[in-house]
Symmetry: C2
Subunit: 149 residues, 2 copies
Amino acid sequence: MKPPVDRLNNHVKEHGMKTSTQRNLVLEIMLRDKKHLTVEELYETVKAENPDIGIATVYRTVRLLCDANIARELPITQQVSRYEIISERDHHDHLICTSCGRFVEISSDQIEQEQIRIAKKHEFTLTDHSLVLYGICKDCRKKEKGTTV
Amino acid sequence: MKPPVDRLNNHVKEHGMKTSTQRNLVLEIMLRDKKHLTVEELYETVKAENPDIGIATVYRTVRLLCDANIARELPITQQVSRYEIISERDHHDHLICTSCGRFVEISSDQIEQEQIRIAKKHEFTLTDHSLVLYGICKDCRKKEKGTTV
DNA sequence: TTACCTGCAAACAGTTTGCAGGCCG
DNA sequence: CGGCCTGCAAACTGTTTGCAGGTAA
């Protein structure tokens, strides 16, 4: 499959849209900072390279990237949305430390298989899923022992 | 374990709070409508029995119930939060039809075990998890075949 | 030149909070 | 009777949208 930049250009053409520096910049930043960014964080980084950009454009671009299946919203229940670039052939879920917020990307064929089995049992055609594990990482466990919180 | 109503009363006492008709009513409705309600929906139902209640109280009560571990926010990424009563000895995840919104509650020991294994591998102490499967249910699949959308 | 795209600010939706009065204990 | 609780409305936060001007093709 083609690189994200090309896919964005294709999607844009196919939908009668036009390319723009802003859109390319947002995508570029998302590819560079392989984090799970909020629009706000993305906006801050983008502004460093192009101070004139508006946050509305970042929102619009992120939505466009999701529509084009280049990025996706993370399935984490919070008041603010976080996004990441989708790299197919590398589907993963997340393990999050609720103390320090650290993310680990995980994947398990066994779980995937079991999900398919469950969906089939209920006569659903599975289109997507999200799995998030919450826990305390080793470092935070150490810290918590030492402090009297 | 004691029923939710008792647990609420205990929690309230233990925290130097007071009981109130409004709080009990909200809990009662949540127990009765075993749905995955938004605060707005809950508010509408509650108002039918007590028209003077304010939505802020419903928000405050739902938060209280979550603090007391009597209810929890569903791990579904949407702009609006949904809540459900926690019935221990009946942990479940969700399978959702993205077309009609129907929920099915699911559970799998095999997945639970695998999750524990993964957490251990990354040296996390697992505290919680959320699994949501998205798909199209049998009925919606039929409908989609019939229509030209 | 013709749409589309952008930045701005206003609008929105969901949720939280400050306040004055009410009620539990 | 003191302190928590409530309803109301205003405040807040994250996100979307209308508009006038800018820009890709």
